[in-house]
């Protein structure tokens, strides 16, 4: 066991690239926080939040092999928890102007971090309630139930006027989320996910994905293990929802349509079901892509009026992208691999050798 103990210098020696990378990231965040305009900052914040949600989703869908589609609902729970508990008490009368806030909530104000964690815990508790009947069954019941849940939660939030202010939504949430918050928590979630996936619990998740019957025969309690994964995923998603609320400063039920879930589905399919680094990379690609493709939503002036460019058209592009990936590139960017320094080195080497071979073949043909 002593062999596992690493001295500080050997730790630096093996991980210096990662440390340098993290350092650069830190500098990048600091620079962006100072100099980037609010639009760019908003996108970068969203990238981090989408990374957290997608990691939670990938834990369930990619690593445990259970198909959950409740991400929008879990986000809503986290977002509303932060909204309800962080709006300053003196502002509440002006926010809840149609009907006053329920008295048992009206005077509770929590610090942001407390509300954030509470949102995660609420999400996890709701996940337990959904999972309790569904995770005992094999098959796609979880997908149907979670999809239904995310619609139900939206409709509940629309109709509980005294708690969530109904369709008006809650405004005036202190916009505490900045790059430090979102990237800090994203980093914590990434590290926690990596450590979890590489532990005995992570192996148990993967065994269920690979073969439920064999996993059960090896002593893995299916229900308990699936539930653990599902609740951790919901916890992460709830936290991300809280960050989302504190980023926008306002929540309303329309933000949490189940179409939101499909963004995350696209992210994990594109990144690779069961790859943490793939999820992170594709979170950035998809979030930035969604913004960048916004020009497709505007009517275009090509001289003639093309009727296809109208609001929502970029979603068509995204659906097409999803179909193309599923049809031709099923494993996504990373498959179940992780982007490690070794992986990069091997890739570069294989590309080099392929290029080398190609030139030699070309040379042969010229003769």
């Amino acid at each position: 066991m002593n062999t596992q103990k690493m001295t500080f210098s050997s730790f630096i020696k093996t991980h210096w690239k990662t440390i340098v990378f993290l350092g650069l990231l830190l500098i990048g965040i600091a620079l962006a926080n100072e100099f980037a305009d609010s639009y760019l900052r908003r996108i970068l914040n969203l990238c981090a939040i989408y990374t957290i949600v997608s990691l939670g989703m990938n834990l369930v869908n990619g690593f445990t092999g259970q198909f959950s589609l409740g991400q929008a609902g879990f986000m809503a729970i986290g977002a509303y928890t932060v909204a309800i508990f962080t709006v300053p008490v003196e502002m509440r009368a002006s926010v809840f102007y149609l009907e006053p806030m329920a008295p048992f909530l009206a005077n509770i104000e929590l610090p942001f971090i407390g509300a954030l964690i509470l949102g995660g815990i609420f999400s996890a508790l709701v996940a337990f309630l959904i999972g309790y009947p569904c995770l005992r069954l094999r098959g796609d019941y979880l997908a149907i139930a979670t999809l239904g849940f995310s619609e139900i939660i939206r409709i509940i939030f629309t109709n509980t006027q005294t708690i969530t202010n109904g369709a008006l939504g809650i405004k005036g949430i202190p916009t505490i989320s900045n790059l430090w918050w979102t990237y800090g928590i994203a980093l914590l979630v990434i590290i926690a996910t990596i450590l979890l996936v590489n532990s005995s619990y992570g192996r148990a998740f993967k065994s269920i994905r690979e073969d439920e019957i064999a996993a059960e025969a090896m002593g893995i309690g299916l229900f308990k293990t699936k539930m653990t994964s599902f609740m951790i995923g919901a916890f992460f998603t709830g936290i991300a929802g809280g960050l989302f609320a504190a980023l926008l400063g306002t929540v309303d039920p329309k933000q949490f349509y189940f179409t939101l879930t499909y963004n995350f589905l696209l992210i994990i399919v594109l990144g690779g079901m069961g790859s943490i680094s793939g999820t992170i990379i594709s979170s950035f690609i998809v979030t930035i892509g969604l913004e960048w493709l916004r020009f497709l939503d505007e009517p275009m002036a090509f001289g003639l009026d093309l009727p296809i460019f109208r609001p929502g058209f970029r979603m068509v592009i995204f659906s097409l992208l999803l179909m193309i990936i599923v049809l031709f590139y099923r494993k996504g960017l990373m498959g179940t691999n992780e982007l490690t320094w070794d992986f990069i080195r091997k890739k570069i080497r294989s590309i080099q050798s392929r290029l080398g071979r190609k030139t030699s073949i070309d040379g042969g043909e010229k003769k």
């Binding site: 066991m1 619990y201 993967k206 065994s207 073969d211 090896m218 002593g219």
Partner: protein
């Protein structure tokens, strides 16, 4: 002393009686075999013992070494039954294909983890100790079974025979008292079957196991079994030592399909 006992087990699927009145009594330390023509209900019998199916009626009793009385395991969850000391392999190899050899074996030790997932995330000393112990145990196992050099290979990339060995290694990692092997020699040539025979003898003595297996290779079965049970259309048509079975008219009839009035 008997380790596993089934009493009047009947397993019906709708109108089909897959297993009819199964009475098995496996003594501790013996090597028993379950044979019978295709579709006789052998694998169903295994699935009833391991909890995959709950029998329509009858009971399955297990007497583990650390318990005084026998435990009724009829229809218990498969993972709980594994925890009580029954491990199995599958007729069609069911490895965790995308995972490495080592991971496949490590998964079988997950039932013994005594720390929660938070300790696993925070890598508490207890979790680290547990992980190190599990790795040590699995490396020992893989070494014993000659798979240690392949421990980082993806399990689906192993040759067929090695995959069979890995499945047995994985079953052994659950620390079983009773090992159920479902056609371990399926798809093996005579030489590989001979090696398997030695292998089974070896693990039986090394791990102090009781073995119950389904097998079609009669050479193998007759050579190594202490007791044989013969199933045909769900019914136990004979039980006894290899000599008794070989001379049993009913068994010969079931296998060769001799006319009833011939």
């Amino acid at each position: 002393m008997s380790l596993l006992k089934t009493e009047k087990v009947i397993m019906q699927f709708g109108g089909v009686v897959a297993v009819n009145d199964l009475n098995i009594d496996i003594k501790k330390g013996e090597l028993a075999a379950l044979i019978g023509p295709n579709g006789a209900g052998k694998t169903t019998a295994f699935n009833v013992i391991t909890g995959v199916y709950t029998p329509t009626s009858g009971s399955v009793l297990l007497s583990p070494a650390n318990e005084n009385d026998s435990i009724d395991i009829t229809g218990k969850r498969p993972d709980l039954i594994t925890g009580l000391g029954i491990a199995r392999t599958f007729q069609n190899i069911r490895l965790f294909k995308e995972l490495s050899v080592m991971e496949n074996v490590l998964i079988a030790t997950h039932q013994n983890v005594n720390y929660n997932f938070l300790s696993a995330i925070f890598r508490t000393p207890k979790a680290r100790r547990g992980e190190a112990e599990a790795k040590e145990k699995c490396e020992f196992l893989l070494d014993k079974l000659g798979l240690i050099d392949l421990k980082d290979e993806k399990s689906s990339s192993l040759p067929y025979g090695q995959q069979r060995h890995l499945e047995i290694a994985r079953a052994l990692a659950t620390s079983p008292e009773l090992l159920l092997l479902d056609e371990p020699a399926a798809g093996m040539n005579p030489q590989e079957t001979d090696e398997l025979t030695d292998f089974i003898y070896q693990i039986r003595s090394d791990f102090d196991l009781t073995i119950f297996m389904i097998e079609h290779h009669m050479d193998l079965v007759m050579q190594i079994s202490d007791h044989i049970y013969v199933l045909d259309f769900g019914c136990t048509i004979a039980k006894g030592t290899p000599d008794e079975i070989q001379n049993n008219q009913k068994v010969i009839k079931a296998y060769l399909g001799v006319d009833a009035d011939a």
